[in-house]
C-alpha cells in the first residue's frame, strides 16, 4: 500500500512537471501567433490535457506499464512493483538534473529508458521487450519526420487553396472550415475506435458525419464575414480563430500521450497491488488516468502561465496560417501515436512540424542547430534514465524493499 501511495505521489509530481514544462511547448505556437492569450492557453490546456489523458491515455499507459519490460519474466511481483517505482523516481530525478544543467530533456524518453533500466537490473537483458523498444525508437525518429511532412503538406494546401487563389479571403471562408473539420474528423475517429471500441467502419462513418457537420457549421459562421483590411490580414484573422481549435486539439493529443510518462509505472504498481495478472489484458483504471490528467492540469495552472509567457513571447515569427499548420500536424501525429500506444515526444514532433513549414518557405528563419538537441535527447536521456533507474532499484532492493 505504501509503495502504491508513494508511487501515486511521485507520479502526480511528474505529471505536474509535465504540465508546467511540456504543455508550454505544445501551446507555444498558438500563444506566439497570438491566436490565444496566456490565460486562454492555461484554461484550454488544463481542461483538454485532462480530457485527453482520461479519454485517450490508456493505450500509451499500457505500453509503459507492460510493453517495455515483460512482467511475466519477473517472478517476484514485489520486485516489479519496486522497479516501476524506481523508474518513476529515476525519471523525476533525471528531469531535475537535466533541467538544472539546461540539457534537452524529454519525459517520454526518460520513462522509456527508466523502465528498461529497472528491467535489466531486475532480471537481465532478456526481460526487455526489444522489439517494442525498436518500435518505440522508430516512432521517435518517425514522429518528427511525419510532423515535418504533414505540416509541409498542410501549409502547401492552405497556399494552393487559399493564399494563391484570386480571392484569398473568399477562399479562406470556403475552404478553411474543411481544414478544421479534418481535425474534428480525426478526433471523432479515434474516439469511436478506441473509447467506444467500435469497428473502423463505424469510426469512419461517424468521422465523416462529424467532418461534414463541423465543417458546415464553421462555414455558416464565417459566411457573413466581410473584408475590413487587406485580404491576407483577413485570412490570417480567420485562421486565428481556427487556431484556437487546433490549440485544443494539441492539448488533447498531448494529454493523451504524455499522461503515460507519469502514470504508466503507477498503473504497473496498481496492477501488482490489486493482484492482477501482470502481463494480462487489464485495462488501466480511468481513475489512475484522471490522477495523471489532474497532475498535468495542476502543473499548467500553477506554473504554465509563467512558462508560456517565456516561450510564447519569444515566438513572434509565426503567422496564424503557419501556426495552424504546425498545430494541426503535431496534434494529428501525437494523437495517432497515442492510439497506436506509442510514447512519442510532443516537443520533438513540434520541432519537425516547424521545420516542415520552414521548408515550405513559411517561416523567416528556423534554427537547424536545434536538431542536435533531439539527437542528444535520444542518446543521452535514454541511457542516463536507464542507469539511474538501475541504481535506484538496486538501492531499494538492498534496503530490503
Amino acid at each position: 500500500m505504501s509503495i502504491l501511495l508513494m508511487g501515486g505521489i511521485v507520479g502526480f509530481i511528474v505529471a505536474v512537471s509535465i504540465g508546467a514544462n511540456d504543455v508550454a511547448n505544445s501551446m507555444a505556437t498558438a500563444v506566439g501567433a497570438r491566436a490565444i492569450n496566456i490565460r486562454q492557453a492555461v484554461v484550454i490546456a488544463a481542461i483538454l490535457e485532462f480530457t485527453g489523458a482520461a479519454i485517450f491515455g490508456s493505450q500509451v499507459t499500457e505500453t509503459i506499464r507492460k510493453g517495455i519490460v515483460d512482467p511475466a519474466k519477473i517472478n517476484d511481483p514485489n520486485a516489479f512493483m519496486l522497479g516501476a517505482f524506481s523508474a518513476l523516481i529515476a525519471t523525476a530525478t533525471w528531469i531535475l538534473i537535466a533541467t538544472y544543467f539546461g540539457l534537452p530533456v524529454s519525459t517520454t524518453h526518460s520513462i522509456v529508458g527508466a523502465m528498461a533500466g529497472f528491467g535489466i537490473a531486475a532480471a537481465g537483458w532478456s526481460v526487455v521487450n526489444w522489439i517494442k523498444i525498436v518500435i518505440i525508437t522508430l516512432s521517435w525518429i518517425l514522429s518528427p519526420i511525419a510532423g515535418l511532412f504533414v505540416s509541409f503538406l498542410m501549409f502547401k494546401s492552405i497556399s494552393a487553396f487559399i493564399l494563391h487563389s484570386d480571392r484569398p479571403f473568399k477562399s479562406a471562408k470556403r475552404y478553411g472550415p474543411w481544414f478544421i473539420g479534418g481535425a474534428f474528423m480525426i478526433i471523432a475517429f479515434s474516439f469511436v475506435i478506441k473509447v467506444l471500441k467500435s469497428s473502423a467502419t463505424v469510426g469512419l462513418i461517424v468521422a465523416t458525419v462529424v467532418f461534414v457537420v463541423s465543417g458546415f457549421f464553421i462555414y455558416i459562421k464565417l459566411k457573413r464575414r466581410r473584408v475590413l483590411s487587406n485580404e491576407y490580414d483577413e485570412v490570417e484573422k480567420i485562421f486565428k480563430k481556427m487556431q484556437v481549435i487546433t490549440s485544443c486539439y494539441v492539448a488533447l493529443a498531448h494529454g493523451a500521450n504524455d499522461v503515460a510518462n507519469a502514470i504508466g509505472p503507477v498503473a504497473a504498481i496498481y496492477a501488482v497491488y490489486k493482484g492482477l495478472e501482470l502481463g494480462g489484458k487489464v485495462t488501466v483504471p480511468r481513475s489512475i488516468l484522471m490522477i495523471g490528467g489532474l497532475g498535468i492540469a495542476v502543473g499548467v495552472a500553477l506554473w504554465g502561465s509563467k512558462v508560456m509567457k517565456t516561450v510564447g513571447e519569444g515566438i513572434t515569427a509565426l503567422t496564424n496560417t503557419r501556426g495552424f499548420s504546425i498545430d494541426f500536424s503535431t496534434a494529428t501525429i501525437v494523437l495517432t501515436a497515442s492510439i497506436l500506444g506509442l510514447p512519442v515526444s510532443t516537443t520533438h514532433t513540434v520541432v519537425g512540424a516547424v521545420v516542415g513549414v520552414g521548408l515550405a518557405r513559411g517561416v523567416e528563419a528556423v534554427n537547424l542547430k536545434i536538431l542536435k538537441n533531439i539527437l542528444i535527447s535520444w542518446f543521452l536521456t535514454v541511457p542516463a534514465a536507464a542507469v539511474l533507474s538501475m541504481l535506484i532499484f538496486k538501492i531499494l532492493i538492498f534496503l530490503g524493499g
Partner: protein, 222 residues
C-alpha cells in the same frame, strides 16, 4: 523549454530590408530641402548631419542582417542573394550621403534655368526612390501570400514604374549635360566639372534603385 526560442530565433529577413528601404526614403525626402538651402547659400550642416545619421542607421541594419544569417538558419531566401541584395540597397543611401557631402565642396551663383533643372532631377529621383520603397514594402505581402504568382506579378508591374522614372532621370541628366557644354565659355571649368559630377551622382541614385529593383525577383526565387 527554451527549445522554441532557439528553434525560432528572432532572425528577420524581410523586416530589416523594409526598414532599411524606409530609411533610404527618409533620407531622400531631405533632398528638396537640402537643394533649396544650397541654392540659397544657406547653412546645410543640419540636413547633411541628419542624412549622415540615417546612413549610419541603415549601415547598422545591413550589418545586423548579414551577421544574423548563417548556414544553420533555414530561411525562405538564399543567404548569398540576400547579402548581395542588401549590399546593393545600401549603395543607394551611400550615394544620397555622397551627394549631400558633395554640396559642401563648391557653390556658385547658378541661373534659375539650371536650378530648375536640378530641382526637377531631384524630384524625379525622389519619385523613383518612393516607388522602390513601395516595392520593398510589398515583400512582406508576398511572403504572407506564400510567394503567390499574383502578388509577384503585381510587384513586377509596380517595379516597372521605376524603369520609367529612371528614363526620365536620364533625360534630365542629359539636359543638364547639354547645358553644361553649351555654357563652357561662360563659367569656370571647375564649377562646370563640379556641376557635371553632382548631376551624375544624383542620377546614379535612380540607376542603383533600378538595379536593386531588378534584383527583387531573384531574392523571391529559391
Amino acid at each position: 523549454m527554451a527549445i522554441f526560442k532557439k528553434l525560432l530565433p528572432n532572425v528577420k529577413v524581410i523586416e530589416p530590408i523594409i526598414k532599411h528601404a524606409q530609411i533610404i526614403e527618409k533620407a531622400m525626402m531631405k533632398f528638396p530641402e537640402l537643394f533649396r538651402a544650397y541654392f540659397g547659400f544657406k547653412n546645410i550642416d543640419e540636413i547633411v548631419k541628419e542624412i549622415t545619421n540615417l546612413e549610419r542607421e541603415a549601415d547598422k541594419i545591413k550589418e545586423r542582417l548579414k551577421s544574423s544569417l548563417d548556414n544553420y538558419h533555414l530561411t525562405p531566401f538564399e543567404r548569398s542573394t540576400i547579402v548581395l541584395y542588401i549590399h546593393n540597397q545600401d549603395k543607394i543611401i551611400d550615394l544620397i550621403e555622397d551627394t549631400s557631402k558633395l554640396l559642401y565642396l563648391n557653390n556658385f551663383e547658378m541661373p534659375e534655368e539650371l536650378k530648375n533643372m536640378l530641382m526637377e532631377l531631384v524630384e524625379e529621383v525622389k519619385n523613383a526612390v518612393d516607388v522602390f520603397e513601395d516595392g520593398v514594402r510589398r515583400l512582406e505581402r508576398i511572403f504572407i501570400s506564400d510567394f503567390s504568382t499574383r502578388e509577384i506579378e503585381a510587384e513586377k508591374f509596380e517595379m516597372e514604374k521605376v524603369e520609367g522614372l529612371e528614363d526620365k532621370v536620364d533625360e534630365i541628366t542629359l539636359k543638364i549635360g547639354r547645358w553644361i557644354y553649351s555654357n563652357k565659355e561662360n563659367y569656370n571649368p571647375i564649377d562646370l566639372m563640379f556641376l557635371r559630377n553632382l548631376a551624375l551622382t544624383v542620377s546614379e541614385i535612380a540607376d542603383v534603385s533600378q538595379n536593386v529593383v531588378d534584383m527583387i525577383p531573384s531574392i523571391l526565387k529559391k
